[in-house]
């Protein structure tokens, strides 16, 4: 049985009292009896009252696992990250190209614009990141996923480098640079997954690792999250 079928079956069973009432309404309406219609709306109301919070709760847990929550980690915690930090839940995706042994990380570049400075950090979200088995010993898989975190940090540093070249403190320009960097980062993450085919092509994986490490080293001076922009005349 496929998943769509199971979902339809569950919804049908759940709403069966509603369907039952609907049939009665149709039957009785021919006779001019309006009482079943009121009962129908009552059953529908209670059914929705129960299912809507359940759906919202399910969506929230699918997005971030608050049952096993760990706050987002900054890049300085990189070396401590293992699969035990991958706490997210995955209800829909059962495999990646037929491989059930898969994982993914969620990372973002966060920023805060102050008076004359900008704070840019790369964050790794443990409770949104998923691995098929937290206790897996697959170092290759972990390494591949951790390089996604490094790529995000790389683009956070690139953002700070570009911001450092601004002559004037302009929130619009800063937002523009950050938006551009986020797009570039997503594109790079996609190429990384495509070229390495999620680490299947080890030579490509190693090529990316060398490139990312070397670029990160080149941008060491932008390691600090905060960058001050002074007006230059």
């Amino acid at each position: 049985m496929n998943e769509t079928f199971i979902a339809i079956l569950i919804v049908t069973i759940y709403f069966s009292p509603v369907f039952y009432q609907l049939v009665i309404v149709i039957k009785e309406s021919k006779k001019g009896n309006r009482i079943p219609l009121k009962k129908f709306f009552k059953v529908l109301k209670y059914s929705l009252f129960i299912i809507i919070p359940l759906i919202i709760g399910f969506a929230i847990i699918s997005h971030t696992n608050y049952f096993n929550y760990e706050k987002p980690l900054t890049y300085d915690k990189y070396d401590r990250i293992t699969f035990e930090n991958f706490r997210g839940l995955e209800f829909f995706k059962k495999s990646l190209y037929g491989n059930e042994h898969f994982a993914y990380v969620v990372t973002t570049i966060e920023s805060k614009i102050d008076e004359n400075s900008v704070t840019v950090v790369s964050l790794f979200y443990p409770s949104r990141s998923y691995v098929y088995n937290t206790y897996t010993n697959s170092t290759e898989l972990l390494n591949h996923e951790k390089y996604h975190i490094k790529i995000t940090e790389l683009y956070a540093r690139k953002a700070k480098k570009r911001l450092s070249k601004l002559n004037h403190f302009s929130p619009e320009k800063i937002e523009g640079i950050l938006k551009q960097i986020r797009q570039e980062e997503r594109a790079f993450q996609k190429s990384y997954d495509y070229d390495t085919f999620h680490s299947y092509v080890l030579s490509e994986q190693k090529k990316y690792e060398r490139e990312v490490d070397s670029l990160l080293n080149l941008l060491t001076e932008f390691k600090n999250p905060k960058i001050t922009i002074n007006d230059k005349n």
């Binding site: 079928f5 339809i8 092509v201 080890l202």
Partner: protein
């Protein structure tokens, strides 16, 4: 009674929504097929189709992608050529690919009442997939022997390696048996067969210029006489010249 009818209707509706038009499933979105994918795809192609059902072909735009993926040498090359991977691992993967290829050979063998191949281009593509694979497989096997040998220059190791190369050449010679069946091939099939000789046999001779090709030469001689296709004749002739060019004066 009405309730039963409603329940029955609901069950039928559910089953209908569960029906899909896709009869055969192939991982066509996957960039590279691994040995597990091959196991599943080859099983589907060998046993999942009815005898009168059309198999995926190069000519059918809807199924072309399947046969292209099936015979794409990148699927094995991406692992076997990856020097970051260990030799033993690559050798094991090559062996598994080789076993899968053996099963692949059964897929496109069907002939019609006039003894013509129904899928000659596809059958030859599968063959050529195997020729390319074997070049890498035997190379990895020999590299593995050399790596694990106490003395890679010993006579025993050399004999083992030569024996493997001879087996590889013998396997290649089987491809030329296709010329015996050339009447079962379409013109495009003959072109493909000929292109296979040009590409893969050239690679074989270039990879092992000092190997003993006497059996292959004998086969070329016989097939040159037998074939009625100028293109195949030309390919065989070029191959013969290439082998000659690699011979040292003593040979």
């Amino acid at each position: 009674m009405t309730k039963i009818r409603i329940i029955l209707l609901a069950v039928i509706c559910l089953n209908l929504t569960n029906c899909t038009n896709e009869k055969h499933k192939f991982p066509i979105d996957k960039r590279y097929w691994d040995t597990q994918d091959y196991a599943e795809v080859v099983r589907e192609l060998n046993y999942g189709y009815k005898s009168d059902e059309q198999l995926p072909t190069f000519d059918d735009p809807n199924t072309r992608i399947i046969v292209e993926k099936l015979t794409d040498p990148q699927n094995y090359a991406v692992v076997l050529d990856d020097k970051e991977l260990g030799l033993k691992h690559r050798n094991e993967v090559a062996e598994t690919f080789f076993l899968r290829w053996k099963d692949m050979q059964d897929i496109y063998q069907a002939t019609d009442r006039k003894d013509k191949y129904l899928y000659d281009k596809e059958m030859l593509a599968v063959w050529q997939f195997g020729l390319g694979l074997q070049l890498k497989y035997f190379k990895l096997g020999n590299d593995n022997i050399l790596e694990s040998a106490d003395d890679p220059n010993s006579a025993r190791v050399k004999n083992q390696i030569n024996s493997n190369v001879n087996t590889l050449i013998k396997n290649y010679v089987i491809y030329l048996d296709g010329i015996n069946q050339e009447s079962a091939l379409s013109n495009k099939g003959k072109e493909k067969l000929s292109a296979g000789i040009d590409k893969y046999f050239t690679e074989l001779v270039q990879s092992y210029p000092e190997a003993n090709y006497s059996g292959l030469e004998k086969k070329i001689e016989l097939m040159e006489k037998k074939t009625e296709s100028d293109q195949i004749k030309n390919s065989l002739s070029k191959l013969k010249q290439l082998i000659e060019s690699k011979k040292t004066p003593e040979q």
